[in-house]
Each structure stands twice: as structure tokens, then as C-alpha cells.
């Protein structure tokens, strides 16, 4: 039975390879393969990969340990949802998921309307070359259907830290973001080949780039939220190489979506937009595969294999060489010289583009420097988080300023003083609030105060802008996404700064009956219990949180002992309040009678997630409005 499945799935993969070869051949305007058409082939590509993916899911669900992948990553006693998510909790499975999304974007684009046939053919052909490369890699170098000769009775199991509902959806969401940029890349290459990178190109690209960006944002946020409650360190962002790997494409993509907007409105910055599209996709590849390759030494690295990293590096290298040669060859033909006013919205966006690239460089250097010293000098080192915060914070101030001012400027030359006079009440309000905040909380650090001031300015101006436009029905539709996302970013920055300044931590060694104090709260250690679950045993402690003698909430931090594979994890217990989170986590070190409890007050966490959510929703609104418009045409 297993052997049949092996043959069927590999046959399906080969079918997809063949379809992709024919699809790619259409990049040259040939007469040989006019049939089957683009859409038919796209169907074949999608269905073959979808079936392969379903087969793999099936194998995990029935726990067929004749397959290596299932044996190494699953266990018969695991809850159903983790058998399911175990499919992409490993290298081969996540590769297949990546390919499925690649094919899906290819398919959706092939079906979209209002695009010239030749342009569509080229885009799909470029996309199919990538599909071919990745499917070939899957079949020959990391086949998910490799069989073993032993009759294993049970599997090894999925790393318990990955057994979390959030981590079941985090990889797919993140991947939709990463892979979405593959289509944007294909569109950029098609634009270079047809030499048509213009306003129409921008309006074709827009919905795709916005939705990919929104998914990437959501993916990063989910990962960060998971790290916050699961890793038990009370932090949400550690400037860890893996986190940076997902942040880098996000920064490039943020620059890209704004360039696509300028291109659509003013027909300028063609080359720069193309460069950003190539850069974003390359960084997405780096993001996915550095994580999987095991090159990065990180808290998040679970499934890794150094050998495969080489293929990916080669692939990224080829993509860069190919696309930049094409760019060098054609860029003069796509560039149209038209000017923008010096003090205009376009200039503001351009400045922020440069600031984003600077931040990207900072993150890139910090992430790659340890890799380079390790490979070249055989010297291990890490870059402390302080490097990022101290270098990036001053740039964020400028960035927030231009985010605030640019949308208020016109596309042509605008008088700056007129805008400032227009905004005077807003500036005074923000200044007053900042002053109150800094006096009340004794916050006298210049950088932090400035970030709070400009964030407030951005939040208030974005919110009033969306209200002002409400009377004129049309404007509110185009600007709602932008204003929501911009206000969200301001809220996020304010929350990040205040959280960093006001977090508090207490560590206690506690026995049952102890009363522990954190600010005005008393925690009484009520009892400790042993709980047996299907896939782990756990020690559960009960802490009653009281304020002025009144019971407010019960905290139940846990320590879980998993047996397949043997691992211990600490589960935090968090009370989310609007203005601050209270966070408890415990540890039981060996040779010790009492348990260690760490308590955090984490201010503004809810607001931080709220800001992030606003950014995501803003992106989705911008993407969907554009899709709606495209269909109207």
C-alpha cells in the first residue's frame, strides 16, 4: 500500500514538473506549445500539487510510519490537530506547503482578468520556472515520500514546543506572505521583458503586493505572539536571527507597496520599484530557507539540515544574477523621466524609502555578521539586542515624521508652512499629551519622548483624516486602509517604547502557602497539582491574585513533561488587561525543593497587538478595494 502511495505521489510531482516545463516555454513567443493553454496548464499544476499535499496529510493522519517523514515527525498518540500541523512542522512538508502556495498564486493569476494575454503568459512562465526549480528540489533532494524498510511501531513525535494551536496556522500564513512576493517578482520580470513598467503595470501588481504584505505582517505577528506566551521570557521580539529573517522582507515590502502607489499615481520610480520587487522576493527566500537550512543558530530553529542550504543559496544567487542582468539590460527603456515637486508627497515617500532601506541594512548587518565571522574566522559571537534598538530608534523618529507629513502634502510642490499652520491644533494637542505623559511617568529620555510625540501626531492625524473624508464618500474608500495602517503603526511604536520603559520583573522561590508581591498585587500560592493529558503530564500551580484583599484572578502556570520526544516546557499564565499584561511563568530546577516563579508586568501589550491588527486590516482593505476596482473595469 505504502509503495503505491509512493509511486502515485511521485507521479503527481512529475506531472507538475512537465506542466511547468511547457508553461515556462511560453516565455519565448513560440508556436509549438500554443495548446494546452495557460489556464489548463495552471489547473494541472495546481491539482497535482494539491493532491500530493492531501496525500501527505492523509499519511500523517493515519500515522503511516513506513514513511520516514511521518516516523520522524509524528506519533500515534498525538492529538489530531498536531498530526495535521506536523505536516509542515518539518523541512520536506513545509517545502511542499511552500510549493502549494506558489502554484496557487500562479493559478489565481492565470485566472485573473483584464490583463493582456502576452503579459500573462510571460508572468506565468516566470512563475513556472520557479515552480519547476522547487518541485525538482523536492523530488530529488528532499522527497517527503521517502520510505523506510523497518516496521516502526510508533513515531518519534513532533517537538512539543511546536504543539501549539497558533503554530499550526503560523507557517501557512507566513508562507502565503513570502510566496505572494514570488508573483510580484514574476510580474516585475515580465514587466522588464515587455518593457512595460507603467501605471497599468502598477495597478495589476497592487492587489497582489498588498495582500502578500498583509499576510506577511500577520505571519510575523502570529510568530511574535507565540514567542510571547510560549517561550516564557516575557518578551515578544528578541532580535533573533529567525525573527530578523522574516522582518527583512517585510521592511523591503513596506517600501515596495509605497513605490507601487507612486508609480500608479505619478508614473515615476520605475527602476526602483523593480529593484525592490526583486529584493523583497530574494529576502523572502532568505527568510524561509535560512531558517530551514540550519545555518542560523536560533531559538526558533527546529527542523534543520545544513546540506540543503547550499541549494537555496545557489538558487537565490541565480535569481539575483538573472534578474539584475535583465534589469541592467532593460532599465533605460522602462524609465520615464518625469519630475515631482521637491516638497511633495512623492518626496516624502522617497525619503521614507531610504530610511526603510537603512533599517534593512542595519538588520541585515546584525544578522549576517555572526554568520560571516563563524564561516570565515571560525569565531562564534552574537549581536546584542541593544545594537538594534539604539541604531534603529533615531531613524524611527524621522520615519514617523515623514509618515505624518507626507500624506498631508500634495503630489505637486506644496508650501510646507501652510501645512504646518493647517495642522497647528494637532501639533499642539500632541505636544500637550506628550508633555503630560513625560511629566507623569517621569520620562525624560529624548529619543523615547520624540518617538511618543511623533507617534501621537501620526495617530491623531491619520484618524482625523479618515473622519474628515467621511463626508465625501469616494475618498474614504481609498484612504481607509492607509489611515488605519498608519494609525496602527503609530500605536505600535508608542506601545513598543512604553513597554520597554515600564516593564517590571520579579523573581521568587515559592512554596505552597507563600504570598508574593508584585506592585500592588499579592499572589498567594494556593496549591500544586499533577495533571495527566493525552500527550503530556503536567505540574500545574495555582496562584490567587489579590488586590486590597479582594480576589481578582487565578493564575495557573504549568510545567509540561512530554514523552514523545522527551522534553520539558514551561507554560506561562497571562492575564491580558487593556493597559497591561500580568505574566507568570514557573520553573522547577532539579535538586531543588521550591519552585521558581517569575512575574512580569508588561504594560501596553494589548495595545501593541491592537496596533499590529490595525496594520494588517489596513493592508487587507487596501488590497481588496483594489481587487474590487480591477473587476469593475
Amino acid at each position: 500500500m505504502s509503495l503505491y502511495i509512493f509511486y502515485i505521489s511521485n507521479f503527481l510531482l512529475l506531472l507538475c514538473l512537465t506542466a511547468s516545463v511547457i508553461q515556462s516555454s511560453k516565455i519565448i513567443n513560440n508556436k509549438i506549445f500554443t495548446r494546452p493553454g495557460v489556464i489548463t496548464l495552471a489547473y494541472v499544476q495546481l491539482i497535482s500539487i494539491l493532491l500530493t499535499f492531501l496525500i501527505l496529510i492523509y499519511l500523517f493522519l493515519i500515522s503511516d510510519f513506513n514513511f520516514d517523514l511521518v516516523y520522524f515527525n509524528s506519533h500515534s498518540e498525538k492529538p489530531l490537530i498536531y498530526k495535521f500541523s506536523g505536516v509542515w512542522g518539518n523541512h520536506e512538508g513545509s517545502m511542499l506547503l511552500w510549493i502549494l502556495i506558489l502554484v496557487l498564486f500562479n493559478f489565481l493569476f492565470a485566472l485573473s482578468r483584464g490583463i493582456s494575454e502576452r503579459f500573462k503568459e510571460i508572468t506565468v512562465a516566470v512563475q513556472s520556472i520557479m515552480i519547476f526549480g522547487f518541485v525538482a528540489f523536492l523530488v530529488f533532494l528532499s522527497n517527503p515520500f521517502a520510505l523506510n524498510q523497518n516496521n516502526f511501531f510508533d513515531g518519534i513525535g513532533l517537538n512539543p514546543i511546536l504543539q501549539d494551536p497558533l503554530l499550526a496556522i503560523h507557517p501557512p500564513v507566513l508562507y502565503i506572505g513570502y510566496v505572494g512576493f514570488s508573483l510580484v517578482f514574476s510580474l516585475a520580470i515580465a514587466g522588464l521583458i515587455t518593457k512595460e513598467v507603467d501605471q497599468q503595470w502598477a495597478s495589476i501588481v497592487k492587489p497582489w503586493v498588498f495582500s502578500a504584505w498583509a499576510f506577511l505582517t500577520a505571519g510575523i505577528a502570529l510568530g511574535s505572539f507565540w514567542a510571547y506566551y510560549e517561550l516564557g521570557w516575557g518578551g515578544y521580539w528578541f532580535w533573533d536571527p529567525v525573527e530578523n529573517a522574516s522582518l527583512m522582507p517585510w521592511i523591503a515590502a513596506t517600501a515596495l507597496i509605497h513605490c507601487v502607489l507612486i508609480l500608479q499615481k505619478r508614473n515615476v520610480m520605475q527602476s526602483w520599484t523593480i529593484i525592490l520587487a526583486i529584493l523583497t522576493f530574494s529576502l523572502s527566500l532568505v527568510g524561509t530557507f535560512l531558517v530551514r537550512s540550519g545555518i542560523l543558530n536560533s531559538v526558533h530553529t527546529f527542523a534543520s539540515d545544513p546540506g540543503r542550504g547550499l541549494f537555496i543559496l545557489l538558487f537565490i544567487f541565480l535569481i539575483l544574477v538573472f534578474s539584475f542582468s535583465l534589469f541592467a539590460y532593460n532599465f533605460e527603456k522602462i524609465n520615464k523621466t518625469s519630475s515631482m515637486g521637491l516638497i511633495s508627497r512623492g518626496t516624502g515617500i522617497q525619503v521614507n524609502n531610504w530610511l526603510l532601506i537603512t533599517i534593512l541594512t542595519i538588520v541585515f548587518l546584525g544578522t549576517m555578521y555572526p554568520l560571516a565571522t563563524d564561516l570565515l574566522l571560525n569565531k562564534s559571537l552574537t549581536v546584542g539586542p541593544k545594537y538594534y534598538s539604539t541604531t534603529i530608534a533615531p531613524i524611527i523618529i524621522l520615519f514617523l515624521f515623514f509618515m505624518f507629513i507626507s500624506p498631508r502634502l500634495g503630489w505637486t510642490d506644496t508650501k510646507l508652512y501652510k501645512i504646518i499652520i493647517q495642522m497647528r491644533y494637532l501639533i499642539i494637542t500632541s505636544l500637550t499629551i506628550t508633555l503630560i505623559i513625560s511629566l507623569y511617568f517621569e520620562l525624560f529620555n529624548l529619543t523615547e519622548t520624540l518617538i511618543i510625540f511623533f507617534s501621537l501626531l501620526l495617530i491623531i492625524s491619520s484618524m482625523t483624516a479618515s473622519i474628515n473624508f467621511n463626508k465625501q464618500n469616494i475618498l474614504v474608500r481609498t484612504n481607509l486602509g492607509q489611515n488605519l495602517a498608519h494609525a496602527g503603526f503609530g500605536i505600535l511604536m508608542m506601545a513598543v517604547v512604553s513597554n520597554a520603559v515600564y516593564s517590571e520583573e520579579r523573581i521568587y522561590n515559592a512554596k505552597v502557602g507563600d504570598n508574593l508581591q508584585l506592585q500592588k498585587y499579592i499572589f498567594s500560592f494556593d496549591k500544586i497539582e499533577q495533571v495527566e493529558e493525552s500527550n503530556y503530564n503536567s505540574l500545574k500551580a495555582y496562584f490567587l491574585m489579590k488586590k486590597d484583599g479582594k480576589l481578582i484572578d487565578t493564575f495557573t502556570p504549568e510545567i509540561r513533561f512530554y514523552s514523545n520526544p522527551p522534553t520539558i516546557t514551561s507554560e506561562s499564565s497571562i492575564l491580558h488587561k487593556f493597559f497591561s499584561d500580568i505574566y507568570l511563568v514557573m520553573n522547577v530546577p532539579q535538586d531543588q525543593q521550591s519552585i521558581s516563579v517569575r512575574m512580569h508586568i508588561k504594560p501596553f501589550m494589548t495595545i501593541l497587538w491592537l496596533g499590529t491588527l490595525m496594520i494588517i486590516i489596513g493592508g487587507i482593505i487596501s488590497a481588496s478595494i483594489r481587487i474590487g476596482r480591477l473587476n469593475e473595469k
Binding site: 516564557g232 531559538v299 542595519i362 559571537l381 552574537t382 546584542g384 545594537y387 523573581i507 520526544p565 532539579q590
Partner: protein, 145 residues
């Protein structure tokens, strides 16, 4: 030189200067925040690292763990050849145990003791930090593949 060439040259030089200043600032900031990793033997050779924040990794020596009060611990980290005494105040991770791999972050003091402010948490019982494996290989004590 025509005016156009001149103005382009000025623009180019100006942006070159700005970019180099930015890169210099970034690199200096990077250098200030680098945390080096050492094994015990390596650290003893690099006595000039005293007073800097560094990471130290190896195995927790057998029967070296003692606690002074609720949350102050003493243990030593060894690579088989040399060991360094560590003082740590805080919570030890669940998987901290004697004869297991560990990485600590802190300051190497003048008296040869290491004051740790972080014991890096690891997730998996069989997991060995790659740096520790490297360290053990250097001292010839590595027994894995």
C-alpha cells in the same frame, strides 16, 4: 565640465559622504554590542576579555551546583580540561542539570569568576548548543557523532 555633470558629481559625492557616515555609525554600534562566545579553555587564554559581556558554554561540572539562597546559584562550567566557576542570580531553566550542556551570558571578573546574568534556555533534553559541541570537540571530549 558642464553644469549638469557638475551638479550630478556634487549630488553623487554628497550622497557618498552621507552613506559612509551612516555605515560608520552602524558599524561602530555593531562593534560595541558584539557578544563573543568562549569555551572555558579559550576564555582562560583570553584574559583580556575580563570585564566585558561574553558568553561561556560547556558542560555543567558534576556535583558543582550549590545554592546560597533562594535564587543565587554557584556552579562550574567545564570542557573536560578546564573549568570556570560561575555565579548566577535568577531562575535556572527546567533543563539545567549537571553534566548537560549550558550557555551562560555575563561578565568574566578579574578574580577568574564568571558572573552570569542569563542562563540561556534550551528546549530539548538531547539538544546540545552547537557552540558547546564545538568546544567539546576542541578539547577532545566530544562523544557524539
Amino acid at each position: 565640465m558642464t553644469n549638469l555633470v557638475k551638479s550630478r558629481l556634487i549630488k553623487f559625492l554628497l550622497s557618498l559622504i552621507i552613506v559612509s557616515i551612516a555605515v560608520l555609525i552602524i558599524i561602530f554600534n555593531l562593534r560595541d554590542n558584539i557578544i563573543y562566545f568562549y569555551g572555558p579553555t579559550e576564555l582562560l587564554k583570553n584574559s583580556d576579555k575580563q570585564g566585558q559581556i561574553i558568553r561561556l558554554g560547556g558542560l555543567v561540572s558534576v556535583s558543582s551546583v550549590q545554592n546560597e539562597s533562594d535564587s543565587i546559584f554557584y556552579f562550574s562550567i567545564t570542557d573536560g580540561d578546564n573549568k570556570i566557576d560561575v555565579k548566577y542570580e535568577g531562575i535556572l531553566p527546567n533543563l539545567f542539570a549537571e553534566d548537560k550542556g549550558v550557555v551562560v551570558e555575563g561578565v568574566y571578573m578579574n578574580d577568574g569568576r564568571f558572573i552570569a546574568n542569563k542562563v540561556l534556555a534550551k528546549h530539548d533534553e538531547n539538544y546540545m548548543p552547537p557552540e558547546v559541541i564545538e568546544t567539546l570537540k576542541k578539547s577532545g571530549k566530544w562523544q557524539g557523532e
